[in-house]
């Protein structure tokens, strides 16, 4: 058997005394797609950051093609042929597709200026070879997230990467986009490129990978060929046995419950913002979870933002508790009793600030008069830390020292100290492991029991199915179908969207 392309032996890393990786051995064969799975904080990201030269301070050894290497910067890794496509894309939104493909490596003409025509031509060739159909002159920010991701992949490949690390590449993609990505990955693999595929979507990992490695609590607990490996087996390795109820397949019919006869809390009529959504009308009752599902870019996210006034809709009316309200800014919406958890953690958390300040920012005006009361804030925060199982349970720690899933829980907790009238969640479980997802489901169910009107907006069908009592489907900016008091399944939802 030939030597592996990349070998890591006994790699350890700890952050402030907390072990993130414990003596991990990891091998990557040339020309394979290697899946990496594990709960949030299990060590996948840390290992990949070491391989990509982002994390430079670690113990252990790394061999690339048999040669010992130690990367001191992402550039070192790039020079050695290792590239990474991050979950939160690092594309430059204001540059064109071609410029993004050539980011940092623009072809120059004899005068040392950027050779625009040549760049455009080469970008077209490169994208065509990858069969990515996109206008190279289009501004990156105007593309769908799925296309941006493909362009980003094109950039990493173009920079000469032999090993490409993909972090949660499918989390923001619709099924056809996932298929397109997988087709591309298979073709590139057959050409000899090597991929590491990190994901929480076990079906995706099993579908695309040749082998997979399972991480648990900073250790690589199993490496296995994917052929013949069941999802059940992987989940057991990830979190141990006895978690059957966490991962339901949602392929079978789920009966949506009878709509309660409770009063309407939020009524939306003819909400429109040109280019984003049009004529959207719905009602959310007390003690109900309304789900809005659509593929990415179908407008559901923009509707959620409009209900928080950020940015507001241009037409239509919003009635809250029977009174017409104007939500022209986020402070307006918050005062009216609307809580909103946006789709990205970066958009609502303060990394350098302690956990408790992150949680109480939304309610400061209720717990304080003139002076801040940190004691009260810490007590409130501690209660939530317990209730949400946030680890480590120390409210004075800077938020950025928590793992991604725990940060997400902080984001949820910050709105729940004083109950709002309406809670809006955008992609509430994106990037979460099954355990954290289950926590969110439990929390939302208990909030529903307390009579809160909840709106869940997502492009992940499982998320909507596991949370919602009633489901609206959006397509291209308009509501196209409502599911209520009837059986529903994932395939029926996808069909309607």
């Amino acid at each position: 058997m030939p030597r592996p392309l990349l070998e890591l032996s006994q790699v350890s890393k700890s952050f402030g005394g907390v072990a993130a990786l414990r003596a991990v051995d990891f091998e990557l064969e040339a020309g394979e797609i290697h899946g990496l799975v594990g709960e949030n904080g299990a060590g996948k990201s840390t290992l990949m950051k070491i391989i990509a030269g982002v994390q430079t301070d670690y113990d252990g050894a790394m061999l690339l093609s048999g040669q010992p290497v130690r990367f001191l910067s992402p550039r070192d890794a790039r020079v050695a042929g290792i590239g990474m496509v991050h979950q939160e894309l690092s594309a430059v939104r204001d540059l064109s597709v071609a410029e993004n493909v050539f980011l940092g490596a623009q072809p120059l003409n004899r005068l040392g200026l950027v050779a625009w025509a040549a760049m455009r031509r080469q970008a077209v060739e490169h994208l065509q070879r990858l069969e990515i159909e996109v206008d190279p002159g289009a501004r990156m920010g105007t593309l769908s997230l799925g296309l941006q991701q493909l362009v980003e992949l094109a950039r990493v490949l173009f920079s000469g990467a032999r090993i490409v690390i993909l972090d949660e590449p499918t989390s923001a993609l619709s099924p056809p986009e996932v298929e397109r990505l997988f087709g591309l990955l298979r073709r590139l693999r057959d050409e000899g490129r090597t991929f590491v595929f990190i994901s929480h979507f076990l079906d995706d990992v099993l579908a695309i990978s040749n082998r997979l490695t399972v991480f648990r609590a900073g250790a690589a607990v199993a490496t296995q060929s994917c052929a013949g490996t069941s999802k059940r087996w992987v989940i057991d390795r990830m979190i141990g046995a006895g978690h059957e109820k966490l991962e339901e397949s949602y392929l079978a019919d789920i009966a949506l419950p009878r709509c309660p006869a409770a009063k309407t809390v939020l009524a939306v009529n003819g909400l429109t913002r040109p280019g984003a959504f049009r004529n959207v009308s719905f009602e959310v009752r007390a003690g109900e979870v309304l789900g809005i599902y659509g593929f990415l870019g179908s407008g559901q996210l923009e509707v959620a933002h409009a209900l928080f006034g950020h940015p507001p809709a241009s037409h239509g009316s919003i009635i809250l508790d029977g009174r017409s309200v104007r939500l022209s800014s986020a402070p307006d919406a918050r005062r009216s009793g609307i809580a909103f958890i946006p789709e990205s953690r970066k958009m609502m958390l303060f990394g350098a600030e302690p956990v408790y300040k992150n949680m109480t920012i939304t309610i400061l005006d209720r717990i304080d008069r003139l002076w801040l009361r940190p004691g009260v804030e810490c007590r409130i925060a501690s209660r939530h830390v317990k209730q949400f199982h946030i680890r480590p349970p120390r409210v004075e720690r800077p938020l950025s020292t928590l793992s991604g899933g725990n940060q997400q829980k902080v984001a949820l907790a910050k709105w729940l100290t004083h109950l709002p009238r309406v809670l809006i969640l955008a992609e509430p479980t994106r990037g979460m492991d099954v355990g954290a997802k289950d926590d969110v489901v439990t929390i939302l169910r208990s909030l529903r029991e307390q009579g809160l009107a909840i709106l869940v907006v997502s492009s992940e069908p499982e998320t909507v199915l596991s949370l919602a009592d009633r489901i609206l489907i959006m397509r291209k900016g308009a509501i196209v179908r409502e599911f209520a008091e009837e059986p529903i399944s994932k395939d029926r939802m996808l069909e309607a969207a």
Binding site: G16, D57, Q67, R70, H310, F350, A352
Partner: protein
């Protein structure tokens, strides 16, 4: 690829203990201050005396009052380049509405002292409000907006004095600016009160928390329902009013009101905030840091006079110190980031 030599140990992140890394922005200015005091104490006989301490404190007072407002602005990750301009304009306004000696050829409008002070306060408030409007409503970056304001304020100053010099200010202003309460100059007391008030507001009030949050992550503050526009408007106005008051007292302290007399104070007050360790990226630092920065600059300026250094070299040294502070400022930010990944 061949083996990359082990150079990581050259990076201080390896050896520096965690507690020091996270406090770098507080420790560095303090260490600098101690080192400077030690150096000048040893190098000069006249440096270490009660009288000189009084000198230093008096010399940094005008800068100190301006730096309070500027700290709010920089904590929000904005900048105010109009502080010295507004200080100059406000100082001239208060003199313009005060009876001047017959020899002063300014077409001024004498009013009662309290009225002159009120008009001066109103003018700096309005100039700050214009800054705030440009920044939050029109969307002009603060760097450019306040650059324009610097010019506007200089224009107001020029129009009012027309190249002349005014000497008289209302008695309240001249007392606070140039008299002493026992051995302590009033201007030092005023600066101390401003610094203390700024610290209390930033640390113990909701508004202060919002300032830190707006600077730390503006998008997150907005999504938390914080009215970031109101916060930014407030800090621009606070900065302008602090500058205005510094300007009035400064006129009394200098004994004259004229064009361009505050020009060096722009750099001084920004330096004080940044040398003290308040992050240029917003959200980190505070008045404690600003006090450290003021003392470092005050001791440096004063100490250089005591060791008979070439006065032209002095300017260069100040520049180098500012550069060093900027390096530490950016570096402290990076240390914190590496620690938190």
């Amino acid at each position: 690829m061949s083996e990359i030599p082990e150079t990581a140990s050259l990076m201080p992140t390896r050896r520096m203990p965690g507690w020091l890394r996270s406090r770098m922005r507080n420790v560095a200015p303090f260490a600098t201050l101690i080192a400077l005091i030690g150096f000048f104490w040893a190098a000069s006989d006249s440096f270490a005396s009660v009288g000189n301490l009084q000198n230093i404190l008096t010399q940094i007072s005008v800068t100190g009052i301006m730096a309070v407002g500027l700290t709010f602005v920089i904590l929000c990750a904005e900048i105010d380049l109009s502080v010295a301009g507004i200080a100059n304009a406000t100082g001239i306004v208060v003199a313009f509405f005060t009876t001047q000696d017959a020899s002063v050829g300014i077409a001024n409008v004498p009013l009662a002292g309290w009225a002159a002070i009120c008009i001066a306060l109103a003018s700096c408030f309005v100039l700050g409000a214009v800054n705030a409007f440009g920044l939050t409503r029109i969307g002009i970056p603060s760097f450019i907006m306040t650059l324009a304001m610097l010019q506007i304020a200089a224009g107001i100053s020029a129009l009012l004095v027309r190249g002349q010099i005014a000497y008289t200010v209302p008695s309240l202003v001249s007392t606070l600016g140039s008299r002493s309460l026992g051995p302590v100059p009033w201007i030092v007391i005023v600066a101390a009160i401003f610094l203390l008030a700024g610290h209390v507001v930033l640390t113990y009030t909701r508004f202060g928390r919002y300032v830190y949050m707006t600077g730390g992550n503006r998008e997150a503050a907005e999504y938390s329902g914080v009215n970031t526009r109101a916060i930014l408007s407030a800090v621009m106005i606070i900065s302008a009013v602090c500058s205005g008051i510094a300007g009035m007292l400064g006129v009394a302290y200098f004994g004259s009101a004229q064009q361009n007399e505050f020009d060096t104070y722009l750099l001084d007050s920004i330096s004080a905030v940044v040398v003290g360790g308040t992050s240029l990226f917003g959200g980190q630092g505070g008045i404690g840091n600003t006090i450290m920065g003021l003392l470092v600059l005050g001791v440096l300026n004063n100490g250089l006079d005591h060791i008979n250094i070439d006065s032209f070299l002095k300017i260069l040294i100040r520049g180098v110190i500012l550069l060093a502070a900027l390096v530490i400022n950016v570096y402290a930010q990076r240390l914190q980031l590496t620690r938190s990944t």
